[in-house]
Symmetry: C2
């Protein structure tokens, strides 16, 4: 296993790598029929290059360097005592390390909750933060969950040389239509080499969640599919060039289909001005006397979109409030779902997405509407800022909702407290 850089494909000039990625991103944006000179997009190649290079910085990190100088002598039990503790046999666990990695199959980031345990030996322990740093060094590469677990485990086993290492990863991969694909993965070495050993049961007891380890079938892990026939050769070449600039070998067998999978994902967000997919045949409600109207709402309409600043997904739910005399008909509800989906499937910013939904839906509700979008932005967590757990809300108000603070308050206070984002 290589612990450090992939020397054969490593180009040390960061400026050249950045320029190569930026050029490739411009090809991708043009393939999406976007104007690469418009304000929100002109610096997107720069931002995407920065995010990719930062998100794969692990290729330049060496586990030996991380652990070196953080191995501390630590006594075990007094000689006359029977048992395991401290630097000789006292199980150590670090739980709930949030990591982001890049799926080697499709180049989308995936979230990892990482739990590491080890059994010290030889009267020494490793600094607790190094367990996190080693995990991070392997996460910041193009990865597959099982290899990530195996590499963290082997990396710690080789450098710390303990009685055993255990790694549990909870992995979450975004899915275009179905929330997230979740997998729980394990890897063990030394005394953790045998999954039926009681030490595994002790490790699980000390984790704060209940779960079962996935079988070794990963066929449902990355939901993207390669379909070279339908994607542009130029765009595929551009992504291949990005992979090479990150220091990886695009001909590695797990990466061969990655460029076309990434392009296929992007093409779902291709620029499109035609609204014919929207059902415009729904009736307008503007002729109902205001005095008979109450506030109704449609909550938790799911959406997936793509941030135009970083080419990274954001996803969440939309809540819509309106004045009416009854709940929306199935036809209108389906109309709202179509709008939400339609405005998600393009390069977006959340503020615009919210406004567009409000403007398009308003006529159906007599012009009085309030729209709230709540989202998790991958770009807030997979880049330098790494604000796991943060979320964003944007509001658009039209007609009566813009002048009637009590109506706004009534609707906003009716929104679900518990986040539907996960």
């Amino acid at each position: 296993m290589s612990m450090g850089s992939l020397q054969g494909y490593h180009c040390d000039n960061i400026d050249i790598k950045k320029a190569q990625i930026e050029e490739a991103v411009r090809v991708l944006l043009q393939g999406l029929d976007e104007d690469i000179n418009k304000d929100g997009l002109i610096k997107t190649p720069h931002r995407v290059a920065k995010a990719f290079l930062d998100g794969t910085r692990g290729y330049k990190q060496n586990v030996d360097d991380i652990v070196q100088g953080a191995l501390f002598p630590e006594a075990g039990l007094d000689n006359n005592k029977v048992g395991h503790a401290g630097g000789v046999g006292g199980l150590v666990i670090v739980r709930d390390l949030d990591l982001f990695s890049y799926c080697e199959s499709c180049l989308l980031p995936f979230h990892v909750k990482c739990h590491v345990g080890y059994v010290p030996s030889g009267h020494r322990v490793v600094g607790l933060s190094k367990l996190s740093r080693v995990a991070e060094a392997f996460a910041k590469r193009l990865q597959h969950p099982q290899r990530l677990a195996d590499e963290i485990c082997a990396g710690l086993q080789q450098t710390v040389d303990p009685t055993g290492v255990a790694v549990i990863l909870q992995c979450f991969h975004i899915h275009c239509s179905n929330g997230f694909v979740k997998k729980v993965i394990s890897a063990g070495s030394g005394v953790f080499g045998d999954e039926s050993d009681p030490i595994w049961r002790e490790f699980f007891s000390l984790l704060k969640f209940r779960m079962s380890i996935a079988d070794k079938n990963f066929s449902d892990w990355c939901p993207s599919v390669a379909n070279v026939d339908t994607v542009s050769i130029d765009m595929v070449s551009a992504v291949t060039s990005i992979i090479r600039s990150l220091g990886e070998d695009p001909s590695r067998k797990e990466l061969v289909g990655t460029p076309s999978r990434f392009v296929k994902w992007l093409m779902d967000f291709k620029h499109c001005d035609i609204k014919t997919i929207l059902n415009e045949s729904v009736s307008k409600n503007s002729d109902i006397p205001t005095s008979n109207k109450q506030i109704y709402s449609e909550l938790n309409l799911p959406f997936l979109s793509q941030c135009e600043h970083h080419l990274l997904p954001f996803h969440g739910v939309v809540h819509i409030g309106y004045f009416g005399v009854e709940e929306v008909s199935p036809t209108k509800k389906s109309f709202l779902e179509s709008i939400v989906q339609f405005y998600g499937l393009k390069l977006q910013v959340q503020e615009r997405f919210t406004r567009q939904i409000a403007e398009t839906a308003a006529p159906v509700f007599g012009g009085d509407i309030i729209v709230v979008a709540e989202a998790s932005h991958t770009c807030m967590i997979s880049r330098g800022i790494e604000k796991f757990g943060s979320s964003t809300a944007t509001v658009a108000v039209l007609g009566q909702f813009s002048t009637d603070a009590a109506a706004r308050a009534l609707f906003l206070e009716s929104l679900p407290r518990l986040s539907s984002l996960s």
Copy 2:
């Protein structure tokens, strides 16, 4: 308000600053009667200097630089529509940004959950991640919660120039005996300048928690006290030198008592070999026939300790399992509490802490004991790795627990699932 560096006190040579802090930390360690050349401590001055400089890097960050280039043109509503949306009036909120700051009163880190809202104007929005970066730039300084809220608010108001900015901070300050002091703070500008304006109610509705804003009385915020009489002048001077090296003015009125407060906090963890504070008079249980014994436990004994690698607090709970014929007597429970507290109050590593408790408590339980310590380490979250929400568990087993896997499993599976750390 100064948005950038405190030029008057700023020394640009990072190596000199680092060396000054390292020298000061050596003075502090000697004041704690520690051997500064022992393995776990020899690099502590280096680690502490790195942590302090990283934790106060905000002094070198300028809000203009952060926001510049991330203001994007964004349309409001079509001309013929009444309301607020997008780049003209559409409320934008970013929630649950985890930050760490340093308390200017005592130099301990405090945790902040930050929520920022603003109302765009002039057909433009700011990149969502910049709200986080601006908040971070002010958090990474010696701070007071209200000033932190005010500075984030003013920084965004001045650079983004929106219709208004709102900031809510949930702040958590570690307390030596009582968990955490919690404060909820607000700041508002522009349309958020009036706390009774309905816009505040809308902002609150979109937060995912219920809370009341603290009154402006902060007398109970930082639980540390200055007591110059009882602390070493050399140690106080050393901390004063650290503050100066961080680019701050130690004579600023909020900082005048800080060195003695920090020293007083540290002195609670002074090296001490004498165990006379422990009540050794509790009876030994070794003469009860094994066949009559069952597993009993004492759970959730709280502790506070200080990481010897980073001079930063870690805190949590200890769970103890033993074989016996009955629950522990009040005398023995108090003995266990004393042990847990005693071994916390020194410079520690969690593995040693767990072993020491096990070794000291074992004789009282016939030599058969299992000890689990669960902790949150400030050093895992307030430095570069910033793994919010991560926690650590360490285990020590003596006597029968080391050979009887079923007994270990029985005890470990009885531990509380929900974390008592917070």
